[in-house]
């Protein structure tokens, strides 16, 4: 069975999804989903171990060797990200049943879990495949399930947010399809490793340049890189809270993976960054994302909006690391992907707990929550500190590595900008802390109880991970560095 791990990583949640239709009761379906997700998590751990020991794994689907058949290709990069995705998925699921009790009507809960599993399948499929068109298919699986999940939110704005996301997401996916088509036209293959060897011959053509541009624009739409981020804030805010917790920690990471994979492994560094002024462009967009999104976050009334814009800013940080095109820059980006998943996972999960008890996420409704929901608010505080980049948290680790990578290039001004961005984060986190701890609870409102264990356990799991990996950074740094190294090794 061990040799089949690569495909099982995707098949387990995929087969689990329709099976949920056969089991009927939501609680049973929840346990089943939790089981499937944990299994996927275990598989990802095993795969990562295998890859760290023996190097890239290749699996031929259907027994046909690539490029005639579809290949699954696991290397350090995607094994690492698969670990993050399946891990967050499992932890978030622990609180799922309790959370959706209040947010999704009874008869739709089974459908919710099916869509959740399909979303997980889609993301894992994008990560593990070695075939460009297969990426498109699984991208659509994850997107379609995402649109449906977001639309399950109670507020009618969830429907509108989902529709806007559908339009923008499908345009992005179609752009990606155009890019793949152009690449195929010039090389005759769809296999990613094969593309990497054949693209250099045709790299000078205008067609390939066009292919690259369309592909990257499509990916950046999914990544929510400024200025293509418009779908994200509303989608995250109005989706059911547990959905936001899941997506905030995972969906942009998968898009970032595609960006890294196609730029480094397929098109190659020399093409991607010399033919077009990508370095400069990404740098500018990244910095703009950080500042504009953080500033907008400060003025938001709804805390979910605050953290959604914060996510757009965090994507900016990742892209800044990416644009450095150095080994250190890429390591910083990968580290930040890991850390951001932990940070936002914890934050949005804690917010889900607040929604469960309070029913709203408006800043005004947070008054006095510090005393009434101490554990939950403490979790939000730690998450916030992590966002800012306070030492002893994972946020500090990624900011540190980013600043070091930037200074390595001699761009002191950029390091200053990164730190300035953290200052903005201080402002919007402080607003929340101030309201929760230093304002009296709203008069006439019923006292709010602490969140139930179903929330506290996963939230504090993620929060402890935030602190643990902020102190003992060996694991995350080692894997990120190794992954970055392997990418530079493969690319020209």
């Amino acid at each position: 069975m061990l040799v089949h791990l690569p495909i099982l990583q995707v098949i387990v949640p995929l087969i689990a999804a329709p099976t949920c239709l056969i089991l009927r009761k939501p609680k049973l379906v929840w346990l089943f989903t939790l089981l499937a997700s944990s299994l996927a998590f275990v598989i990802s751990i095993l795969l990562l171990q295998q890859v760290m020991l023996t190097g890239t794994i290749s699996y031929e689907l259907g027994g046909w060797s690539p490029p005639w058949g579809i290949e699954y290709r696991i290397d350090k990069l995607n094994a690492f990200i698969a670990l993050i995705i399946s891990g967050v998925s499992t932890v978030v699921l622990l609180a799922a049943q309790t959370s959706i009790e209040k947010e999704i009507p009874q008869e739709k809960q089974t459908l919710f879990y099916i869509l959740y599993l399909l979303s997980l399948t889609g993301m894992l499929g994008i990560l593990t495949t070695g075939d460009a068109f297969n990426v498109f298919v699984f991208l659509e699986i994850s997107s379609l399930s995402a649109y449906s999940l977001i639309a399950l939110g109670k507020d009618r704005r969830a429907l509108w947010a989902s529709f806007q996301y559908l339009i923008m997401g499908t345009i992005g996916a179609t752009f990606i399809l155009i890019g793949i088509g152009l690449m195929y036209q010039m090389t005759g293959t769809l296999n990613m490793a094969d593309l990497a060897t054949r693209l250099p011959e045709v790299a000078e053509t205008r067609t390939i340049t066009t292919a690259y541009v369309f592909f990257i624009v499509g990916v950046c739409l999914k990544l929510a890189l400024f200025p293509l981020h418009f779908w994200l804030p509303n989608a995250y805010t109005y989706a059911p809270s547990i959905v936001t917790a899941f997506f905030a920690a995972t969906s942009t990471k998968v898009a970032a993976y595609l960006l890294i994979r196609f730029t480094f492994s397929i098109f190659g560094i020399s093409f991607s960054f010399t033919t077009l002024p990508m370095e400069t462009l990404f740098l500018i967009l990244g910095i703009s994302g950080i500042f504009i999104a953080s500033t907008v976050a400060i003025y938001q009334d709804n805390i979910k909006h605050v953290f959604a814009y914060s996510s757009v800013a965090q994507v900016g940080y990742m892209i800044v690391g990416f644009s450095l095109t150095t080994h250190a820059g890429l390591t910083a980006m990968l580290l930040h992907m890991f850390n951001h998943a932990l940070m936002k996972g914890a934050l949005f999960l804690a917010l889900a707990a607040v929604v469960y008890r309070v029913g709203s996420t408006r800043i005004a409704d947070f008054q006095g929550l510090g005393r009434q929901m101490p554990l939950t608010m403490a979790a939000i505080v730690v998450g916030g500190l992590s966002l800012i980049g306070v030492p002893l948290t994972v946020g500090f680790v990624s900011k540190w590595y980013l600043v070091v990578a930037v200074i390595e290039k001699g761009w002191w001004w950029l390091a200053g900008l990164v730190l300035l961005g953290s200052l903005l984060a201080v402002i919007y986190v402080w607003r929340i802390v101030e309201t929760a701890y230093f304002k009296a609870p709203i008069a006439g409102r019923q006292p709010v109880k602490e969140a139930p264990m179903a929330f506290l356990v996963p939230v504090w799991l993620l929060v402890s991970a935030n602190v643990y990996f902020g102190i003992d950074t060996r694991l995350s740094v080692e894997i990120a560095t190794a992954a970055a190294k392997s990418l530079f090794g493969v690319a020209q």
Binding site: R157, L166, I167, I171, L190
Partner: protein, 129 residues
């Protein structure tokens, strides 16, 4: 000259794509956006299929004596893409039905102003508290 003859097919497809794309972003009526999306995607399909065509060949079904076939791979890809397209359309239309129920309108501008109105009303409510 041969270049124009060899490429004009692609140019026409690109024009179709762009009309579809334009319909998506320029129109406010939600169903029209979905139709624009359809046209956009179908044009991409036409592009892929054109790539696979070989002059003087036949459909890729094995027949005795025929040696020149058009490329089956783009056909396979587009079959999948058509299915993906209908899936997206179905979801989009379902969303539109729900939006109509919830907002009473399927026009982008009207919905947006209703949302802004909601936000403004909430502001007023909270200032009164």
């Amino acid at each position: 000259m041969t270049m124009i003859l060899g490429l004009y097919n692609y140019w026409i497809v690109i024009v179709l794509m762009m009309i579809g794309f334009y319909i998506i972003i320029a129109h406010g009526h939600l169903i029209k956006k979905i139709i624009g999306l359809n046209i956009f995607q179908t044009s991409v399909f036409i592009f892929y299929i054109s790539v696979g065509k070989v002059e003087g060949a036949t459909a890729p079904i094995w027949q005795e004596g025929i040696l020149l076939y058009s490329n089956p791979l783009p056909h396979v890809l587009i079959l999948t893409a058509i299915v993906v397209g209908i899936a997206t359309t179905a979801l989009g239309l379902a969303l539109i039905v729900r939006i109509k129920e919830a907002y009473g309108s399927v026009d982008e501008d009207e919905i947006q102003s209703m949302d802004n109105q909601d936000v403004a009303n909430q502001e007023k409510e909270h200032q009164q508290c």
